[in-house]
Each structure stands twice: as C-alpha cells, then as structure tokens.
Symmetry: D3
Amino acid sequence: MKTAVNATMLKKTVRLALAEDLGAGDVTTHRLFPRAVKAKGVIVAKQAAVIAGLPVARAVFLAVDPKVRIAFRVRDGARVQAGAIVATLAGDGRSILTGERVALNFLQHLSGVATLTRRFVDAVHGTRAMILDTRKTIPGLRVLDKYAVRLGGGRNHRMSLSDGILIKDNHLALAGNLATAMRAARRGAWRPVEVEAATLDDVRAALAAGAEKILLDNMPVARIKEAVLVIGKRARTEVSGGVHLHNVREIAAAGVDAISIGALTHSAPAVDLSLDLTPSGP
Amino acid sequence: MKTAVNATMLKKTVRLALAEDLGAGDVTTHRLFPRAVKAKGVIVAKQAAVIAGLPVARAVFLAVDPKVRIAFRVRDGARVQAGAIVATLAGDGRSILTGERVALNFLQHLSGVATLTRRFVDAVHGTRAMILDTRKTIPGLRVLDKYAVRLGGGRNHRMSLSDGILIKDNHLALAGNLATAMRAARRGAWRPVEVEAATLDDVRAALAAGAEKILLDNMPVARIKEAVLVIGKRARTEVSGGVHLHNVREIAAAGVDAISIGALTHSAPAVDLSLDLTPSGP
Amino acid sequence: MKTAVNATMLKKTVRLALAEDLGAGDVTTHRLFPRAVKAKGVIVAKQAAVIAGLPVARAVFLAVDPKVRIAFRVRDGARVQAGAIVATLAGDGRSILTGERVALNFLQHLSGVATLTRRFVDAVHGTRAMILDTRKTIPGLRVLDKYAVRLGGGRNHRMSLSDGILIKDNHLALAGNLATAMRAARRGAWRPVEVEAATLDDVRAALAAGAEKILLDNMPVARIKEAVLVIGKRARTEVSGGVHLHNVREIAAAGVDAISIGALTHSAPAVDLSLDLTPSGP
Amino acid sequence: MKTAVNATMLKKTVRLALAEDLGAGDVTTHRLFPRAVKAKGVIVAKQAAVIAGLPVARAVFLAVDPKVRIAFRVRDGARVQAGAIVATLAGDGRSILTGERVALNFLQHLSGVATLTRRFVDAVHGTRAMILDTRKTIPGLRVLDKYAVRLGGGRNHRMSLSDGILIKDNHLALAGNLATAMRAARRGAWRPVEVEAATLDDVRAALAAGAEKILLDNMPVARIKEAVLVIGKRARTEVSGGVHLHNVREIAAAGVDAISIGALTHSAPAVDLSLDLTPSGP
Amino acid sequence: MKTAVNATMLKKTVRLALAEDLGAGDVTTHRLFPRAVKAKGVIVAKQAAVIAGLPVARAVFLAVDPKVRIAFRVRDGARVQAGAIVATLAGDGRSILTGERVALNFLQHLSGVATLTRRFVDAVHGTRAMILDTRKTIPGLRVLDKYAVRLGGGRNHRMSLSDGILIKDNHLALAGNLATAMRAARRGAWRPVEVEAATLDDVRAALAAGAEKILLDNMPVARIKEAVLVIGKRARTEVSGGVHLHNVREIAAAGVDAISIGALTHSAPAVDLSLDLTPSGP
Amino acid sequence: MKTAVNATMLKKTVRLALAEDLGAGDVTTHRLFPRAVKAKGVIVAKQAAVIAGLPVARAVFLAVDPKVRIAFRVRDGARVQAGAIVATLAGDGRSILTGERVALNFLQHLSGVATLTRRFVDAVHGTRAMILDTRKTIPGLRVLDKYAVRLGGGRNHRMSLSDGILIKDNHLALAGNLATAMRAARRGAWRPVEVEAATLDDVRAALAAGAEKILLDNMPVARIKEAVLVIGKRARTEVSGGVHLHNVREIAAAGVDAISIGALTHSAPAVDLSLDLTPSGP
C-alpha cells in the first residue's frame, strides 16, 4: 500500500478513528486484565467478498501496540469465500481487544466498497468500458474509498476538485453559455477538459467547443448509443446517473469509455467479518 | 446541534472533508469565474427520507465562505417526501459550487443512517424495546453517525470504549471465567456492568455474578423469550446479531429492553439529494 | 498503561508538552555538546510519594530520541520513600538533558495527584465509600489526571460530558422543575441518571422522580447521615463539596457509596523529583 | 491579552480542553433542553484572590457558541475579595452549561498561580529582587502559566530551551569542566550566558569564565550573601531552590537580582470560583 | 482567492507561520503598549514588482486580531512601481506590529515568485509556449507558490504526485523499458500519460508507446527543434532543464507547447516591501 | 540534529511537505511498480555548495518507508564541490521515488541558505563581526532556515517575537518617545534590551536610555564608523539594511559586533542537486 496511499494521511486517519473509539481508554479491558495476556486471533470473513483494507487494519493494531504481530493470509484485493481466514494476529490480548473494533470497521467498509465494485466490473467484462468512482465518497475516507475501488477492479476519477477540470450542470447554469465556459477552461490549460451533457445538442456543443471528454449524464441507453456515434473518436465518453447492476452491461455495450457510479462508495453494504481470540499459553 | 455534538469536533471533521475534496483548490470554478457571481440554490430530496445533517452542511458552506447564507426549510430529523426542498442557499455561486459535493456527501450519508434507523424504530412501535446503535460506525464519523441515529428515533449505546463496561465473548475467551471477570469489573465501579451471553447458561451465570445488563447475542427468538423470563427484573436486556427489518418486531415483542443493530451505521444506503443552482442577478 | 490510557492521546499530549518546552531547540545542550556524549541518569524521589506517570516520562524521552533506554525501578503507582530511585536512564546525554524538564513536569504533577488521592483513600479505609475524582482537572490533562487518581486508589467519575447524565443545580435552575428534568433525562435512556440534591426535600424529590444516583452537595455531615437513611437502597449516594482530609472519614462513615473531591486534581502539590546525570565512559 | 499570548496557541489550548470535556457532546444538557433557553450567569470568587484567565474563559464560551456574551467585572490580574463577581454571562443557557466546567477549570488554576505569585511578590516588596517563574509548569500550559505569573506581579524566566543559554549542574556533570563549557557557550553568542553555581568556588569559576548571569542554586542565605559580595556588579544574580514564603524576604534582602520559584506554577492551589445561572425570560 | 486556494489550507499555513514567529507572544509590543493604541499603516513596494499574496497578508492580520482593517490598493497580481502603496491598514497598533513580519514574509516571497514568473512569461510573449511551474516548490508552500505563478501569468503543472502520470528518468531506470512502463501506465487510465525523453530515440519510443505528452529534458535548442518536428501533432511537448531568461524565447520559438522552470519557485529573490505605521489619534 | 532542532517540529514539517506533494498517493510509481523493486540511489551536488538538510532528507525518506536506508557521505554543513556524492540510498525503489522530490526540495533550499551564509561569513573573516540572520525567513521554515544559517557559519538572532526585546522604528512611531519606550521595556526585565537607531542622535538617545544593544539600521558606512566610536563599550552593536557581499567587509571593519542580513533566508538561490537511481538486483 506504500505508494498507493499517502502513508502520512493513512496514519492520521487511523489515529482519528482510534481516538473516537478509545475515548479516554478501554475501561473494560483495563479492568479485566491488569497484566499482559498472550493471545492469538483470526480475522474471518463471514461472507464471500473482495477483501480490502488489510494494511489499514495492520496500521490500527500497530498504533495501539507496535508489538502486535499481524499476518495476512490473503493479499489485499483478494476474493474470498465465507469462512476464509483473512489474517492472523498474535500479541498482548489487551492490545488486540482494544484495536479490534476500529480495525474491523475499516475492513468491513472498505471490503464492502471493493466487493460492490467488483460486481460492476465483472458485469462489464469483455466490453471496453472501465468502471470509475466519483467524488461521492464518505467524508474523511476519500483516499481509502478510492483505493478500495481500485482493489475491486475499478478506476479512479478525480481525487479532488484541484485534480482536473469538469464542467457540470451547475457551472453551466451560472456561466450561461457552454462556449464561453469552455474558452475560459481551455485557455492555457495543460490538461484535458471534460463537460457534462444531458442532450445530444449538449454533446454537439461540447464537441464544437473542443471538449476532450464528455460526461453523458442521466441519459437513457438509446440516447447514449446515439451520443457515442455522434462523438466518434473526437472525445472520450463517460456515463453517469441511473447506472445499476441490471443495466450496466447494456450501457457498456453502447461503446462508452467509462461508467462512473456513486453507489460504489456511498452505498456499499459492509462486509461481515469477525475477530476471534484465544489465549496462547504462558 | 450546539449541545448535541461537540462543535470543535464538528469543525475539524468538516475541515478534513473539505481538505480532501478541495485538494489545492477548485480549478474548474476558478477558471470559469474570475469574479463573484451571485447565485441561489436549493437542496432537494430526490426520494422520501429522514433528513439528517443540515447543520453539518451549513458548517461546510460557512467554512468555504462565511458569507454564504443557508436556510433550512425543514428541521434536522424531519421526514420528507421525494421532491421536498430541504434547504435554500444564496451567495457567491463560486463558494456554493466549491462546497456542494462535501455538503451533499455528509447529508446523503447521515440521512441514510437516520432513514434506516427510522424504519427499525417504526417497526417496533408500541413495544417497550428501544433501538440502539453500536460502535460499528464509519471510521471518523462516530459522533455524527450516532447523532443521525438519534434523529431517526434510535438511542445511543456506548460512544467509545471508555464509556461503560461491556464484557464480550473475546474478553471471556481470555479471562477464562465469567465470575472472575465480573469481580474484576465490578470492584469499586461507579457504573453498571453489561455482559454478553450466547446461551441460557451464560445468562444464569451473568445473573449470578451480578450483571446489571445482559447482552443476548445472536440468539434465536425462542431463546430470547426464555432468557427474558429467566432474567425478569434482575437485569436490563439487550439483543444483538441477526436483527433485520423482517424479524425486529418479533424480537421486540419478546419483551427485551433494547435491540442494537450495526447495520444502522455501517450499511445504510445513501439518500439521493441534489443541489440546483441558478444565477440571481447583478 | 497500554489500555489504561489512549496511546494516541498520550503521544499528542507529550508532543505538545515537548513543543512548548523545546521551542526551536535546546540551545544550551546544542552549544555545549556538538557530538553525542554517553550518559547514565537516575530519577530520584526527594520525598515520600505515590509515583505516577512513569510511562509518560518514558514517552517523553522516546519522543526526543528513540535510543534512550529507561528502566523503571518501581511500578507506576508504587509508594516510595524519600531518596528512592524510581527509574534509570542511559543513552546520549544530550537527549536526556533535552527531555529532562518535560519528563519531570509530568512526573511531579501526576505523582502529586496520586499521592494526595492515596491520602484520602487511606483515610476512608475500612468504610464502604470509594473516593471519586471530578471534572475539575487541569485543562489538557483530563485523561492523565484521572489515571493518576486510579493509581492513588481512587475511582473515576465521568470522563466527559458525554459520559453519563448528571443533573446539577444550574440545570435545575433553568429547567425549573426536577420532575420535568428527570422525565426528559430518563426517556429511553440506556444508563442511570444522577441528580444533585442540596436538601432532604431535594433528596425526596429525586427519589420520587426515579433517580438512580443522588449527589449530596455541600451538606453538613448530620444531613448526609439523614439523607443516607432516607435513601436506603433506592439509589446510590455520592457526596461532594466541603470534603477535607480531616472530615472525609466521618463522611464515609455515614454510609455513602462515594465521595468526590475536586482537590485531588486541581490542587495537588507537585512531588519533588530530580534527575541526576553522570557521564558513562568512552 | 492579544499581544501577551499568542492567540493561535490560545485557541488550540481551549479547543483541546473543550474536546476532552465534551467528549461526543453534553448529553445532560441536550436531553433536558431540546430548545434554546435564555439565561444569565455570574462567575463569583468564593475566596480572596488575584483573578487570572478571564480572556481564556471568554475564549471557551465563544468556542462553544459565538453568541454567548461575557462581560468582565474586573480586569484580568485584579485582586478581589470573597464574594466578588468577576464576570457576567448572557445567552443560550445550554451553551453556558456546556462551557462552564472548562472555563472554570482554566480560571481556578490560573488564578491560583497569580494569587500565589502575588504573595511572593508582596513579600519582597521594597527590595530590588524580582520574582521569576521557572520551566516547572503544567505540561501544555506553559504560556498561560507564565501569563498568570505576570498578572501576579512576577517576571518570566525562559519560555523554552531555545530561549537563552543556562548551564546547569547536569550540563556541567557531562561537560566535565565549567571553563570549557563556557567557551563553547559564549563563542559568537548574541545573548548573555547564565551558569548555575552551588558553592562560592563555583561562583568564582563562573565569573572567571565570563558568565553574565549566575544562578545560586540551593544555597543557605548566609552563602547567598557572600556570593552577592563576591559577584558585585560583574554579573546578575538569581536564587533558586529552598525558597518559601517564610524566607523569601530574607533572601531578597541579600541583594540578589532575582528569585525563581517552581512552586508558583507546579503547586499553586486552585482558587475557588463558581458559576451561577438563572433563566432570563422569554 | 476563495476558490483559487483551499481556504482551510490557507488558514493552517498562516497559523503555522504565526505560531513560529510569535512563539509565546510578542514581548516587545506587550511591554511597550499595555493598552490599545490606534494606528494606521501602509504597505509599500520598495521596488518594481508583481504583487502576490495580499489575501494571505490579510489572513495573517485577521488571525492576530479580527478587528484590524486592511484595504488593498492594487489587486493581487498587479504590476507596481517602486514606491507604490499596495495596501493600507488600520486598527490596534499592537496587532499590526505583531502580524507585520509574518505578513511581509509571505508577501515578499510570493511577490518574488510572481515577479520572476512574469519576466519569463513576458520573454515568450507572442509564441505559443506557456510557462509552467514544477514540483520544486518551497516545502509547505506548494499551493501558494503555484498561486503566485498563476498571478505572474504562468500555468501550473502537477500539484502533487497523485495529479497525473509523468514517467521520468528514474522510473525508466527501474522499469528497464519504456514500452513496458507505458503499458502499465496506460492500462485503464482516464488521463493522458507524459514521458520524459532525453534523446530523439527516446522521443520516438515515447510516440510508439502512445505517450500523449513528451517532456524534452535538458536538450540543446537544436535538438528541441528536431523533436518538435518528429512529434508533430501526435503529442504535446514540454521542455525542462537549462532554461534561463536569456534562452527561453529561443526555446519557445522552437514551437513547444510548454516550458517548465523550477527556478520560478525555488530561487526567486524576495521582493522588498515595508510596512510603515503612524498613530491615528485618540 | 537531535538537539539542534526540535524533533517534534521537524517531523511535523516533513509530514506537511509530504502531504502536499503526495496528495492522495504517487500514481505513477504505483502504476508502474505493483511490487517492490530493489534500488540504490545517490544524491549528487551539481554545483559547489555548503550542504544543509541531510537529516531532513533522511526524515522524509523514513516517513515514506522506515526501511529505506540512507547514509551520509558528508556531514551536514560540509563544503562540497560540483559532482560530490552527498548521500547514498538503498531500499524499495518505489519508496525512494515517492520521497525524492520532497527530500530534494528541502536539501536544495537549505543548502542554498547555508551556501549564501558561508559567502558572507567568509567575507568578514578576520574581523570581530558575526553574521546574523533575521526573522525574514520562509513562512513555516523558521527553525530549519536558522539551522542552515548556523551550518553556514552564521549566528541566530531572535527565533520569535517572544525571544527578546527589540524596539524598532514602528514601535517608536507609536510610542512617541524612545525614553518612555525604554523605561517600559526595561522595568523588571531579566534580559538585555535592543533599540533600532537610524541617526547618531538616535544612538545617543538609546545610550542615555540604557540600551544594552543598538541596531544601526540602514546607515552609510561612514555613519556606522562614527556610531561605533560614540558607543564604545557601552552597548553591543548590530548593523542591518543595505548589506551586500561587496560591502559587508567594509562594514565589519568598522568594528561592529554583528551584521544581520535578511537575504540569507529570503533570497538564497536553491543549490542544484539530483538523485540518481539504479536497480540493485533480485
């Protein structure tokens, strides 16, 4: 994960999550175990899933206690069946108890994102369309959510608002005019400009104004097909809005370059995982 | 929201979310609008929902630009129908564009939590059971997730590990013995102690050891009913595990005091909301 | 200390304390010692005391230089006599010099809290009363101050305002009416509610309203005794206000469950400790 | 206080203190008062004191709620009698309740420091000695503790280790030799160098090495008098160690320039203050 | 500056700069002026320059004291002559004195960057080449340095490593092979890929591998011209290395799209500015 | 560097710099190298320089990946010739690529400061004048800039505004009167007071008021010589303003104690350094 995710940012995210879960300290564990108690643990998937977030879970346990050992039984991004052991733990049982919930909270959410992404990616297998995420991520988890999307086989759209120009409906509502907006956007721009289009007229205007990418927003599939024909090789095409598992393949088959889906990150159900501890001798 | 949520913590959460979405700055808006552009906006619910997070959305826009005005059309926690306007905005359109996504990301997630909670609370209406959340929240959003649960009519279980003693299966696995664990937990304790039980024997042992609350974990409904009879008024009862909308009423009818549900916060689908902007004259 | 105190929080507290003491860097040490100078050190108690904060002192030195070795000669919470060596240090003398003051500042304050607490705990030995702290802690040191209280044999009252319901005089002044306040507090509450009482009428009203704990505030001992009789087993009892070493035993003997004392954390005199360095060979 | 204390630092200190006291939010106030409740409050000194920290208390309430109004009845640093009203408050009673404890915690500690300092300053009135603080401050409160010392009529010694060169016993233990240490310290130094001395021989060596200030550490008064004669006008003199209210005047009368006292900041008992609230009409 | 620069980030940068300059507080101002002293000030350019950073200077003064008024006499990015007044200030003189140095430090550095950029931009006026910055910025000032470049008429290259794919010499040294590297980079990429080339063979290989942008690194002008011919319209071209004011026009005239220059941000001399205060009556 | 620079502060500065350069993560490296790739690297000076910042560069690489090994070939502060290898690196090539730019950004800037300082220090060699820096540092880099000045042979003036009293022209403009200002500054001051003087009359007034240091600001050399004669041994002397490499020796020869130069830190051109990577076998 070293280069995939900014390590400084990861540490900070983990620290915040621990701070809110530990509060002033883990009173139950502290009361029950005045002294260290050697323990072993396993993290088990309770359902089939794409596992995501193992290095985050490790970072959680190490933040609690650098002496906890955690070994991954599968690589981050692996598909596993229900019952699979995804990681094993060893060390002071108190430290494992204290980090358990936060580690699982990251794992269950990120695995949820990766698992849902994988279902969409599989659904478009064999077409030329890539599955993209959006900026509709859980506040505070942008980078990790997008990492989980990649593990599920998806690709990342913009990381942030400073990360490329995308002229959307609200920009056009205020700018009044696509042509003017495009001129402002492209003057001296070192990167491609993308424009949102809701109709074929929008698409033609975007092409005329020199858009390098066109976002076909909330179009029925029939119109998407027409738009793809109109655009040809003059711009790259992205579809968003109204995309579900039941229609994503049809959309992909229309020949678009990319399909972006907010639900990957904002509505992925958590994957069920558990941590089981046992004492491990003197 | 002033006393409901620590304001300092809220500001920090909002700043982090803005930081990750703005990156170095909003290049699209900056390119298109070199000067201020007066605008009005509405935030619209695209589906029926319990709205949660309006003060968070306000905090987002004010962090971007203290001059943006935002008025709530409904109170936080209100039930709305599809199409309802939940808030109106006015100010420099650039600031609204820059804050839009982050504000909506909070609203869509928190409204999702409140909406799902409300469905469970409605399902047990008329019984004595309260719906509780868990510590299975999105990392970094503990306090806001639990605030949304309250808006949906649920009640909060522990905020953090320092917030009450709850002896779970993994604690018992390491402690070896419930009686010993309870003695350690209750010595000089100024608060009630809760113990997890999976069988009726566990329940009896917990009572014998003086547990003031008993968590009936992953029990079938029939066993829950028996446990309630065994316990009587000697302890308060909480059910967790295997709770769904289709069986929650039956569980509640068994006479338990509380039902805790991780899905309220870890698997609530986002509520669909949009922000629509229009220019508002010179 | 691993589970007793949130490690993330501890690191942050230590970093802040070092930041304010180091300023831009330790000019004296830097000028005098351009190169590493091997040294040994001892931390000595200059008076009889309960020692508290050894793991904090270790965290200070490790934050300055991870290669400093520190060994505890007594466990945290031990009673020592004047002259006792509580810890030994070895490593680059420059690092020890740079961390010395901050480490001692923590130790002298926390040992002060533990030592004073122990005097109160000893004074009530044999009674059923436990000694509790309050929220009257040094700003920024809440968690450590309460940890020191535990080391001195005391127990912790609320860690924060989110940590239990306690209705005090100012709440009642605004609510107007104890019965209304209690109804609001108890509706759907998963935890016991505590109410402050200044008179026996207050006590009776609290019982009538269903208070599970009653705080007898600033009452003379005679009235405390009456209150205990009135309350019986219907609620747990806590005394606060006007508690001193000379009268704490008499109060305890009245049969209350707990006595809370602000002075434990806001007025404990520092324990005198020193660090003595010697060079240690080539 | 604007220039006396770094405002950025003050805000951060206040935020930390609020964060630890609010936890996830003030549940009692939130439960009791779903809506705003107009209130007035007074902060009252329960004992004679030098009041310190009013601007900090204001910063606390404003951090909770920018609409709370707080008016100071006395200036920061004023001497007041028992019963004096030091400030009045008005606004939403919920905000005042939520900020109450943190505001008082700052006031009671800082007023304690100022009050004790004033006693020492008064004790040496008419002599040429100034009362100095030390770096023995409460971790995290260095700047505020030293501000309180100034309000009590004391002067500040070093703020941090980067703030002037002071060669102490442990430096000399490692350097081996005062002359060498002084040469290293003074080479190209743009500021005066101070050296600790325990004996008259140390004093003479310090003078010979060119010390501009000499710290007479833990000397009996008779030796202090001799040291003052030996030094004359060749260096400024500071006394530390073994200074109490009963002997500080005698030490001052020996003719030293300054007397530094750790107890001012590490052992000042809190001043007793209370906040009383009343509702203030519709 | 609202949308140009992330406001949250700006505040943090300003706070850090004030923290390091104020230390514990401004002792000189505090000693000299126990009470507020009304003052007016002007910020004057002591040399011809492009002014950059006025909103940062405002943020500095407002962080010290929200009541200081600052009015800009020129817009950020304006060219001014020596002697020009760029801003006026009014308020408590103590607050202006305390913020003076930090405000000027930002202004002198950022104006230096803008002024140097403008010289390069003017030098290529009339050609099709845009002047780009690099990631060779002052640590901590990335966003502001790049903002100043825009004010000087330059354009921004990547803000960060997550902001576009650029394969440089060190990547190729490890990857072994440009073709393999390009395949890995382009698989499912939603953005253009840029490759560094040192020779014409490199250029041809980059084209063959499908590079959308080619960075001509440290090439003599003659080779740049050849490269432009070889590339034609198949990729966009950027020159870096060995670019100076004396040769930048010749390079631009070779027909490249962009010229990136590290010196804009790492070696721009500060612009000389001063702040002059006068008292302003009762 | 352990005691020279506050390690806590250093880590924070490094983290900020990495955060802004990594953004969400290093996409190029991540795309190209899915697995670790063993590499060796050298950091080479491309021009003669005084090298400063090696421990900062190490901190950067270790923050990216604690397993990267970095060995210094020269000590921090060494003079090197063009072509000199200043450090070698080994480890996962991905980590080195990710940290490269930030490490070099620190090194090139700090070496620039040290190199320019050394030129001034050499220019005054043999005189009694020391070269001082100012508070005109790059915002956020105060401590490191001043560390680099020391490595170049210069000495540090005030670290911050809390670090000594210096009465400048703007203070006098508001105070009205040097004598009054000095009285306020010296009352009970434990440190020397410095005053800025622009004329010989100012110098005489400063002496009369008891100034221990006098700052001769923007004086021609002839006037500096006179001032030195007037002052004699009654105060230490510092020159600032209008100091360049061509006149610094003449100023020093006038007999002043110190010469302070803002350009050392605000206008030092970066030193050219590069990092060259090679794969290092299986």
